[in-house]
Symmetry: C2
Subunit: 189 residues, 2 copies
DNA sequence: CCTTTAATTGAACATGTGTTCAATAACTAT
DNA sequence: ATAGTTATTGAACACATGTTCAATTAAAGG
């Protein structure tokens, strides 16, 4: 059940062709025909794996969101998490992650791309919150709902960040998050 | 400078044709050609006003987000707003608004629509928060950033709601928001 | 190495896309 | 009503889309 090398080659060619075309065109300007021309892949082959150009970007973007989760696994970062209302901001790697892949995130937050990309980021953040706050459930509050609330709040900060062309530094974003979470007084490093 | 009646008629025909087609097709399945066929509008005319089918939906959806703002203007609802951390949930009309137009919001929150629709809702909520919390700025916190945080947190709840097929009632959503905002203890009606 | 399996190809077809143009029709303003 | 303005139309064009098919090619597994 190994992945067929031909499929791997085809997908890699399409990935690289997409990155190439995105240097001079917006995502929605990239046609399937042009993508296949640049990638030297038959158009029929494209349809064996995808339906739209956006699906190729989505597959690529999946590797990036996977990196977000991975950065949380690094043991020296993965400090014990406290009550979600007192998240230790040094453990929040998301702003640094976004800056690392800012060229991708400019696309992810642009108006005419599918909402699916947004969900991929949101789901990743929520997954991390669900895992790290499992011990701090509160009565009367639907914990999954609360994580959707909290995760999307953070993504809201990233929207704001993107609207200002990612001018602030990741550390400044972390600092603001700390203040919002009321860590400004009684900070514990 | 009145709107040309011909334009009004054309747009209305396209709006109605879109609603008609959406009964049996997803938004992305609706082609420009089919839309124009049903609307009895020349395809060239379509391009005089729009570029994509999604633009027609966006124009329609604008009327709906305008209704969200309008519901906040109703004087008997527009109670004095407190500190954003203590939002009086009875003034939060958003969950009821979403339920009123749930057929539209199912599309707005579906994966393959443009992110632009999401922004329209988010911007509307943020605008309301910015207006109603202007008096409660805090030092050290970028107030606009905080409103992006808070507005998107609420939209995160709606995402969660949509994921569960809008099963909860708007009042239950409001109740959960109240709990999250720490109104559970010391509630003031 | 050789057979089996399956991905890829190239070609074709109907339809959709995006644009242009002169001719026509419908609206506005006087 | 009439003249002037402008949206709409229909036709045509090159190109993109989505699908099908038999022929070919490359990989997997023994």
């Amino acid at each position: 059940m190994k992945p067929d090398l031909r499929v791997v080659k085809t997908k890699r060619a399409l990935h690289e062709a997409l990155v190439e075309l995105l240097k001079n065109h917006s995502l929605e300007q990239v046609t399937i025909s042009a993508l296949c021309r640049v990638a030297n892949v038959n158009r029929g082959t494209f349809y064996l794996h995808y339906a739209r150009v956006e699906d190729v970007f989505e597959e690529y973007f999946q590797e990036i969101t996977a990196d977000l989760a991975k950065s949380y696994e690094e043991p020296y970062r993965h400090v014990k998490l406290l009550n979600p209302r007192e998240l230790e901001p040094s453990t929040i790697r998301i702003f640094h992650h976004v800056q690392t892949y800012v060229d991708f995130y400019r696309i992810v937050f642009s108006k005419n791309v599918p909402l699916a990309y947004y969900y991929m980021l949101f789901d990743e953040v929520r997954k991390l919150l669900l895992r790290d706050t499992a011990a701090h459930k509160q009565d009367e509050i639907d914990h999954e709902l609360f994580c959707s609330y909290q995760a999307n709040a953070i993504v809201g900060m990233i929207i704001h960040w993107a609207e200002h062309d990612f001018a602030a530094t990741p550390d400044e974003m972390n600092e603001q998050l700390a203040h919002i979470l009321r860590l400004d007084s009684g900070r514990r490093v």
